[in-house]
Amino acid sequence: MTRHPTAIDDESLIAALRLASGSDPVPARVTDAARAAFGLRLPDATTARPVATPVPRGVRSAEEPRLLRFTAAELTVELEITSLDGLVDLAGQVTPCPEAGTLVEIRTLHLTESRALSPTGQFAVTGLPPGWFSVVCHRPGDSPVVTSWTRIRP
């Protein structure tokens, strides 16, 4: 797992500038990727940034858990990653537990999965292809919180 919080935005900005100038033909693949990336931008959203997670103690496991934690001012979004057969299962939680009607979107460059939060603020999506991910938390009557893009390898 590597984290490149700003890479997507920089790429799409440069691609967009090149598109706008109109003088520089850009390969179709690049413009498609740029359009896709732009389509994923949320202008009003607050970005939740990655923070370190504590190392567990007192358990019979020598393994590092694949847990990602993102925080914005008032909200924490957690993602736990498991991968099998080259596909990714994501489980996570929004804390403090937001009001009823909150939706999370798990976004990749190509598709978006939407889930209602469970009463304890949890969500899960299974069988996603590895790659770039971001999670958006849409709260009724409040601006969305979006995690910075994170690359998940199988």
Binding site: G58, V59, R60, L111, Q122, P129, P130
Partner: protein, 824 residues
């Protein structure tokens, strides 16, 4: 030293650098640079466009310079910089021609043939070879033949490639490097021609020559191709181990290493391990692109597209296949074009509703695949086209295609076509018979694999057929039929070799008061078969993804709780939700009777005792009804065991493991303490009837047999356990995640617990989540207390969990007989 002598030295050094480039490219590079630096500036400055000095025929400076550039090029090619190699060879040709040195120009062109091929221009490489040939000595024409063979093989002209190598061998004389190259290229071409015996002889001879001459990476290439041959023959375990060796030797040759990785990826795809193949290809593609290795890159993109398709990513598969198709067209490699087309068609089918002309497009692609020799791919595509025709309502077209496939008699696909055809004609019995014959063929093909991972993945080739058999069974509406076909598939994946199902009467008699629930997936839905002493019931439960997601959420909450992560959610709500999804429609059949569960997919990771209805209920989880039945019937103590004893092991790095091992000794008379070293533990497992291991545990989802228990001298892996001949009847793995399994196919849960059970252990108690050191001691104290009092393991675990409130452990296999039953 005179000027002439100095020039003669420079030329000799340059030629030495060319020779050296094969065995030590880094030194060759340095030597060639030294030669170039030593030459007079006037000569080098004038060389590119042919200055006054260069026009002097036979100019000694120019000769040394041309040879030095060629040495740089050949060394750079070895180190993976193809564009640089091409640029230097073109310069060498120019210098040699300007200086009136046609032989030196022809030599540079000889090297250029190989570089142009690897850059993705095999046709042009053949033209360069034709230009070079008249200027070469007979021995050099032999070398040219070796390079030509690579271009020809890339174009799919394998027979001509073999002929060129045949002609090269007698004229190469003592040039070991090229002789080894000729064997390598001929061997590879023969692999593609399916002449495996001759191919193996060539590749072995290549390895022998390279080893004797110290040509380390030619040796690695030969070894890297032996497993490619093994993979093409279907010998996957040999392929895996040999690839690992090749990877070690090729450190420092990124482009060569990338090529070997692509070969390994191809073998992994053949073994139905697309996820692992994808990891390798995502490493290889950028390396090949950076090296400018256009030819290998196009092939790598093709493989990448295939694994992206297989790992549920049709969008990227389409992008990669389009890119590959463009590259292949530019390279004039028509033989691979239909392979790219096939992936594109399947990606399109996955993304968009099928158009009316899709079946016809698929069939013309299948024709092209046949013409290019890809017969298995074409047969599978024809079957898909028939299925698409059916979906579009064009039954005559579908039946025509299916009849052709059925008559072709090509393995499992033909039997699947036969089954579908008979089912369309209303002949259900005939359809079942064809499915059974197909499953038997899949089972026979996988029985030879000793590695359970390879076996389980290889069996996946039969998944569509098994799915069809299950669909037919579902249409009967009868629980017995569904159970039989679900069990037949589990027997194949579990290594029984034959699609056998237990007799329902025998199963019901053995169950006694217990209830068996076998979960099965059918077209995205979850289905349950409930077996009790008096009947077999079928219930549909709804979409599987909802169940899978609820399981993942429950595990998340449980993991966070056990890791004492402050914000952990209570798992109770998720557990109640899962109970509703899984058992809501079954509750009337269960009562409070002991439960035997046969899971499917993600449900292999569900800690079943956590569901509210299981609070005080003995629960056992088995890979199949047949596996549970076998455990039920197994004698507690096998023949030849002198004194069956309990053994206890305390692993390193834990505060409470030692106390736990002592506790086990206190509960069971005669318990033997065993040192936490691999040899001692393995020996103890051979003679124990009950084994308790308190230690750190690790589950490896990508390679489940690398899951391990920490001991003083390193990890005891599931792979190590495969050597056990008489495993204990009851194994308690008092560690994190030791019960975790990955089931690539239903019936074959892979991991520590699954390995013990597949070897004959009757029952394993292990955790599916991280567990806390101190809490585990508390739970295990209650568990062994109940066990010593005569409870069977599943009941003992229910009692202990109820008493202590510690959750996460599950009883696997057959947990309803006390471990000492056979002795008393």
């Amino acid at each position: 030293m005179t000027l002439d002598e100095a020039l003669a030295d420079a030329l000799a050094d340059a030629e030495h650098a060319v020779d050296l480039s094969g065995s030590d490219p880094a030194r060759a590079l340095a030597l060639a640079r030294t030669v170039l630096a030593s030459l007079p500036a006037s000569c080098r400055a004038g060389a590119p466009e042919g200055g006054a000095a260069a026009r002097l025929a036979g100019c000694g400076h120019c000769e040394a310079e041309a040879v030095a550039h060629r040495a740089l090029a050949v060394a750079a090619r070895e180190l993976g910089d193809l564009p640089f190699a091409e640029e230097r060879l073109r310069r060498a040709v120019r210098i040699a021609l300007s200086a009136g040195l046609p032989h030196r120009a022809a030599q540079a062109r000889l090297s250029l043939v190989h570089v142009r091929t690897e850059l993705g221009h095999p046709e042009q490489a053949l033209a360069v070879a034709a230009d070079a040939e008249p200027g070469l000595t007979p021995a050099e024409v032999g070398k040219l033949g070796v390079h030509r063979a690579v271009a020809l093989a890339r174009l799919g002209r394998y027979r001509e490639a073999v002929d060129h190598c045949d002609r090269a061998v007698p004229v190469l004389g003592g040039d070991v490097r090229f002789l080894a190259g000729a064997m390598l290229n001929r061997g590879l071409a023969r692999v593609f021609l399916g002449e495996f015996g001759a191919a193996e002889a060539d590749l072995s001879r290549c390895a022998e020559l390279a080893r004797d001459a110290g040509l380390e990476h030619v040796l690695a290439l030969a070894e890297g191709n032996l497993p490619f041959l093994a993979a093409r023959r279907g010998d996957l375990p040999a392929a895996f181990s040999a690839y690992r060796r090749a990877e070690d030797i090729l450190v420092g040759y990124p482009e060569r290493l990338a090529t070997v990785r692509c070969d390994l990826a191809e073998a992994l795809i053949a073994a139905h391990l697309p996820g692992e193949a994808r990891v390798l290809l995502e490493m290889a593609v950028p390396e090949l692109a950076a090296a400018g290795a256009g030819t290998a890159l196009a092939e790598a993109l093709l493989l990448l597209a295939r694994v992206e398709l297989r790992t549920g990513d049709p969008r990227r598969a389409r992008e990669s296949a389009e890119l590959a198709a463009r590259e292949l067209a530019a390279q004039g490699r028509a033989v691979l074009a239909p392979v790219a087309e096939e992936i594109l068609l399947r990606a399109r089918l996955a993304l968009d509703p099928p158009s009316a002309e899709l079946p016809a497009t698929m069939l013309s692609c299948a024709d092209a695949l046949d013409a290019a020799g890809h017969r298995d791919t074409s047969a599978a595509l024809r079957l898909t086209s028939a299925e698409v025709s059916l979906g579009l309502g064009d039954r005559p077209a579908a039946e025509h295609q299916l009849a052709l496939l059925a008559r072709s008699g090509r393995g499992v696909v033909a039997l699947q076509a036969t089954a579908l055809l008979r089912s369309l004609a209303g002949d259900r019995r005939g359809a079942f018979a064809a499915v059974l014959a197909g499953l038997a063929e899949v089972g026979a093909g996988t029985r030879t694999f000793e590695d359970p991972v390879v076996r389980a993945h290889a069996a996946r080739a039969g998944e569509p057929l098994a799915g069809f058999g299950l669909a037919l069974a579902m249409r009967t509406g009868r629980g017995r039929a569904v159970l039989t076909w679900a069990e037949r598939w589990r027997a194949v994946t579990g290594g029984a070799g034959r699609p056998l199902a237990p007799r329902p009467a025998a199963l019901r008699a053995a169950l006694g008061e217990s209830v068996l629930v076998e979960f099965v997936r059918h077209e995205g839905d979850l289905v349950a078969v409930v077996v009790t002493r008096d009947r077999v019931t079928l219930r549909r439960l709804g979409p599987f993804p909802a169940v899978a997601e609820a399981t993942v959420r429950l595990r998340y909450g449980l993991r966070r709780t056990h890791l004492l992560d402050g914000r952990a959610p209570e798992p109770g709500a998720e557990a109640a939700e899962l109970e509703r999804l899984l058992f809501g429609p079954l509750r009337d059949r269960l009562g409070d009777r002991p439960l035997v569960i046969v899971p499917t997919g993600t449900l292999h990771t569900l800690p079943w005792p956590l569901l509210p209805m299981n609070a005080d209920r003995p629960v056992t989880v088995a890979a199949s009804a047949a596996a549970w039945l076998a455990g039920r019937r197994a004698p507690a103590v096998r023949d030849g065991r002198v004194a069956a004893v309990p053994v206890a092991v305390a692993g390193p790095g834990l505060r409470y493991a030692e106390a736990e091992a002592r506790m086990v000794g206190g509960c069971h008379r005669g318990t033997e303490r065993v040192a936490a070293r691999r040899a001692e533990v393995m020996a103890a497992l051979e003679r124990a009837d009950v084994a308790h291991l308190a230690a750190h545990g690790m589950f490896s989802p990508r390679s489940p047999l690398l899951s391990s228990i920490d001991l003083d001298d390193g990890p005891l892996m599931a792979y190590d356990l495969l050597r056990l001949r008489t495993p204990p009847g009851l194994v308690v793995l008092s560690a994190c995640d030791a019960g975790m399994a990955h089931a690539p196919a239903d019936g074959a849960p892979l991991g520590l617990a699954g390995t013990f059970l597949s070897l004959g252990t009757r029952c394993v108690v292990a955790s599916l989540v991280p567990v806390r050191d101190e809490e585990t001691l508390t739970l295990m104290t209650a568990f062994h207390g109940a066990l010593a009092a005569g409870d069977p393991p599943a009941r003992a675990l229910a009692v202990a969990s109820g008493k202590t409130g510690v959750a996460g452990f599950v009883c696997f296999g057959c947990g309803d007989r006390p471990p000492t039953a056979g002795r008393e």
